[in-house]
Subunit: 256 residues, 2 copies
């Protein structure tokens, strides 16, 4: 049965989509069957994997709100073993539409049930908020990965994120846990990166992955070619870091 990993951080622009797309690709590259659920109305993960507008006919909005079977929304990507449920801008209305729907928090978990036997991993790319979309992802997930940009503002929201995960575990999903925090956009030339990284390791200790994702321009170029950086330039430092992260995630998975 598939393990479901939610990629979550309400701070914007910290590398959630980049981590979801490249970690999913790296897991598929080592033979895992992976489904990526694009749960962000901007649809960046769908773009990062090269999906055209036409390929987004049935989306995560339809699965969540219209109860379309997840199989109907699933699209194969150019990467063998990696499929995606694309997102559309309709999703930005879902937060408000969901408010008075019964069992509104469980809709994604229920929708994914049909996919769990087909995949080894399901990754969910979340929007930058802790609203009903991210709540649905936390309730559907077994574990949470938190990308954290090595910047001062990025530290601010961490305690609220941890409290939210704790509340979801107690109220809805007893096995939910933060598997790890991945430091992103680490810039060796910049003192601030070291200070933030040191601070995070004090608070999160062993939860911080050893793999640190460096700031690497090839990572930000890849989406304009509709490719994960692993395909765009596998030898670059960014791609290598995501390959190492995948093996670290798999090691931690064996422990759970």
């Amino acid at each position: 049965v598939a393990r479901v990993l939610a990629i979550v951080n309400q701070k914007g622009g910290v590398g959630k989509t980049t981590t979801a797309v490249n970690l999913a690709t790296a897991l598929a590259a080592v033979g895992k069957r992976v489904l990526l659920v694009d749960f962000d109305p901007q649809g960046n993960a769908s773009t990062g994997l090269g999906l055209t507008r036409q390929a987004r006919r049935v989306t995560s909005y339809d699965v969540l709100m219209e109860e379309r079977p997840i199989g109907e929304a699933t699209v194969e990507t150019a990467i063998p073993g990696l499929a995606i449920v694309p997102a559309s801008v309709d999703l930005s209305g879902a937060e408000i539409e969901l408010v008075d729907v019964p069992r509104r928090e469980f809709r994604l978990r229920n929708a994914l049930a049909g996919a769990l036997t087909l995949y080894d991993y399901v990754l969910i790319d979340c929007p930058p908020s802790l609203g009903l979309l991210t709540l649905n992802a936390l309730i559907a997930a077994h574990a949470v990965l938190v990308p954290l940009q090595c910047e001062f503002y990025a530290l601010e929201g961490l305690s609220h994120l941890v409290r939210t995960v704790d509340r979801v575990r107690r109220a809805f999903n007893p096995t939910l846990d933060i598997q790890g925090v991945v430091l992103t956009m680490f810039d060796r030339r910049n003192n601030l990166s070291d200070l933030v990284a040191a601070d995070v390791r004090v608070h999160f200790g062993a939860k911080v992955y050893n793999t640190v994702i460096p700031r690497n321009v090839r990572i930000s170029e890849a989406p304009s070619h509709g490719k994960p950086v692993l395909l765009y330039d596998v030898r670059c430092p960014g791609a290598q870091a995501y390959i190492h992260l995948a093996s670290e995630v798999l090691r931690r998975e064996q422990g759970s």
Copy 2:
């Protein structure tokens, strides 16, 4: 009567808070009386202006949901002429709490009415979404400033943002307009920045400010000292860019 500017972009991490804090400071530095409303549950703008936890006793949540008078939530900052309405994490619940409140879209506009005679400018720092909080800001505003990171993913959500501003203008706020798009984190060494900047100028033409904010590490260091970069290091390229942006905003304001 004060002009209200909303700093909006649903894409995360594009420089909304950095623009709000530093533009507000630059406007105050040239003698304008400025109020910054922190409307993001992360409270980054409050931190960026050096507010301690204790100074955030009455917040934008209380003004929005409990109808506390805005004067009770306003705190003077270390910058002469610049005051702030701080944010707290309670705000992240407001999106859901607002759904069945009557005239939910007009609450911020109504709350600000009491402040408009005291200031020349009110700036609203918005969260990375187009939900009820940003909707409130768009209805309270006279003009919108859109910070845009020079990255590929940042282009994706622009058409949705423009459509949302158009819908708000037609349905709620007939004078609302996008005053301009400000390119942020521009990196001269990186081709991608040029490509994105060129693309934005094709779509937005003269709406794109001439001032481009360079990627500058001093900008990202300043918040850890609780200061805008104009105070932290006024001679650095980042601070100089925000000073130029302020004079460009003032020129455009004279035209409106």
